[in-house]
């Protein structure tokens, strides 16, 4: 039994449907990546944080 000859219209239909499926796979992969990546750490103002060079106490009032 031989396969029927493919028409141009049928070839384009097959290509369009499967291109859509590949696009769907790409979208699913992107969603999976977005869903699993951790939250970005928010930045706070960078302040002067001095190293401790002496005792951390001041004179009593």
């Amino acid at each position: 039994m031989t396969r029927p000859a493919m028409t141009r219209r049928r070839a384009w239909t097959i290509l369009t449907v499967h291109a859509g499926l590949v696009a769907l796979a790409v979208v699913l992969a992107a969603l999976l990546w977005l869903w699993t990546r951790p939250e970005r750490v928010p930045a706070a103002p960078a302040g002067p944080v001095a190293e401790l060079t002496a005792d951390p106490f001041v004179s009593p009032r």
């Binding site: 384009w12 291109a19 999976l32 951790p38 939250e39 928010p42 951390p56 106490f57």
Partner: protein, 210 residues
Amino acid sequence: MTVDASAPAPGLVRLARWAPAVSGLALALVPLLGVVAATFARSGVRAAPGDLCGLVPAGLLGRLVPTPGAPQREPSRVDLARCMVSTDRPQPSAGYGALVLEVERHGGATLQSPADRAQDWYAGLKRTRLEGRGVKPQRVVDVPGLGDDAYVTTDEPSADRDGDPRGFAIATVLAGDTVLTVSYTAEPSTDALATAAAVSVARAVLGGVR
């Protein structure tokens, strides 16, 4: 001679014949990659260090906590360790200091590595503090060059019953799957000195808790 307009080009036919295989492979790869990622990400949580206070160099501990009492370790989970040491008998000439260290390890979950989970938890906590949703007004300042990310939180200036100024700071550090928290209170002191002390302790113990 007439040309059959519906006859496709040979290249188009070849593409159409391969298209189902290509799209099938692409759709099959998505769950396959998910399963592979989940397998690699899911791992047991590492145990937190047993003696946290022991990681603080004795000289530094002596400066921050005059006449320290015995360290108090809370019975904790495998992934959580907490230790507190404070001045036992405050001397008017020496001041009072209290240091609390906490280490929390995070384990992996579906599609998330332990480090990703730790970052999620840490980022959420930092965002809460930055948005001022804590109980007290807080100032949050980043500390560059410490772990993967680090910040210090201080409260509004306060004083004890005698009117002596109290310094208080919490340094929080993210390092891989670990979140280290160092809380330090000193009297009489300032928030700037308490901040420097908490960051110094965090730097000193970070290598031991990784």
